[in-house]
């Protein structure tokens, strides 16, 4: 499965929760599959979906799911020790690990070669790290939500993209809508 197929499958699971979605195609895909006020789309700043999601989770009680990519985690690898040492049991980091930089044309990442983000996350001190196959993502994600334990999911899947328009919604509107959803 490619990322857009996974997002389509997990959209009903994501819907009741706060979602911080990675820059580029992941946000465009989620936006086109199931736009919700509870979704925060990153329009810039590669690498910070996990940090933003952790910040939201630490500031309030609702479940927060950050949808990140292997390339973005590699960009901001310092995020994993911060997550491990600041446990928020309402936080789930879903790393869609397709071994490539999708939004820029599927150039290979080191996570698709010798580097295991699962092993890195564990070595950083994250307690609940689950590596799964693409077809199992929905079940693993639902289990993580139900466990009420901070969980890092590394979903191994195929690289590949679908063609979609960019998000034109104003960033302040995205942020304001998300903040209203947080308070609701």
């Amino acid at each position: 499965m490619i990322r857009s197929e996974i997002l389509r499958e997990i959209a009903p699971i994501l819907r009741p929760h706060l979602v911080v979605c990675n820059i580029g195609l992941p946000s465009q895909e989620l936006h086109s599959i199931d736009d919700q006020p509870t979704n925060f789309y990153m329009l810039g700043t590669m690498g910070l979906a996990s940090s933003i999601g952790l910040g939201v989770a630490l500031a309030q009680d609702k479940t927060v799911i950050s949808i990140d990519g292997d390339g973005s985690i590699l960009t901001n690898m310092g995020t994993l020790p911060t997550i491990a040492n600041n446990v928020a049991d309402n936080f789930i980091l879903l790393i869609v690990d397709n071994g490539s930089y999708g939004s820029t044309g599927d150039q290979p990442t080191y996570a698709g070669k010798l580097t295991s983000l699962t092993a890195v996350a564990k070595a950083c001190g994250c307690e609940n790290v689950v590596e799964c196959k693409d077809v199992d993502t929905g079940k693993v994600l639902q289990d993580a939500i139900d466990s009420k334990k901070m969980t890092i999911i590394v979903c191994k899947c195929d690289s590949g993209n679908i063609k979609l328009p960019v998000i034109t919604r104003d960033p302040v509107n995205i942020r304001d809508r998300f903040m209203e959803a947080v308070k609701a």
Binding site: F40, G47, L48, S51, G55, V56, A57, T79, I174
Partner: protein
């Protein structure tokens, strides 16, 4: 009262309850004070752009954030300041150690110091420079201004302000 305590008192009085820091000798007292206060969730970050991501999330989650960092971090965080903090119009007080000013012992710090104000001006970031100890009296008003206008705001604190490096 120590300057560090006064600064953190102002943070608390302005309901700033989520503070991320990267280590700094000059700001060590403030960082210790943040860690000691029960009203503040202190979350050290590994790099300043990561810290700004944490602050953006905390703000959207309903808390008032702040970042404590060195001026060298301006070089690290320009993209984040522009495409996250400013683009989504979020407030962020940045308490900055202004290394490379008078009384600086490390030559390399001066290299970034000469670019600091120019970069902040280019980014249209409101900037305040604390040089004399009494300048700290404006800190409370600067925090109120930051959360009024929803912008990143820089407070540069130099070695003279801190009573020597």
């Amino acid at each position: 009262m120590s300057i560090s305590k006064k600064i953190v008192d102002d943070f608390v009085a302005n309901d700033v309850s989520f503070i991320t820091t990267v280590p700094c000798k000059q700001l060590g007292g403030v960082i210790e004070e943040c860690e000691a206060r029960p009203e503040i969730y202190h979350i050290p970050s590994n790099k300043e752009d990561e810290g700004m991501g944490l602050c953006a999330g905390a703000f959207m989650g309903g808390k008032r954030p702040a970042i404590i960092m060195q001026n060298t971090a301006i070089g690290v965080t320009i993209n984040t300041l522009v495409t996250l903090t400013q683009f989504y119009r979020m407030p962020l007080p940045m308490l900055i150690s202004y290394r490379g000013e008078l009384k600086e012992p490390v030559a390399c710090q001066a290299e970034m110091a000469v670019h600091t104000k120019a970069l902040l001006a280019q980014l249209n970031i409101p900037t305040y420079h604390f040089h004399k100890e009494s300048d700290v009296e404006e800190f409370d008003a600067i925090l109120k201004y930051t959360f009024m206008c929803n912008k990143p705001v820089a407070i540069l604190t130099d070695a003279t302000f801190w009573g020597g490096y």
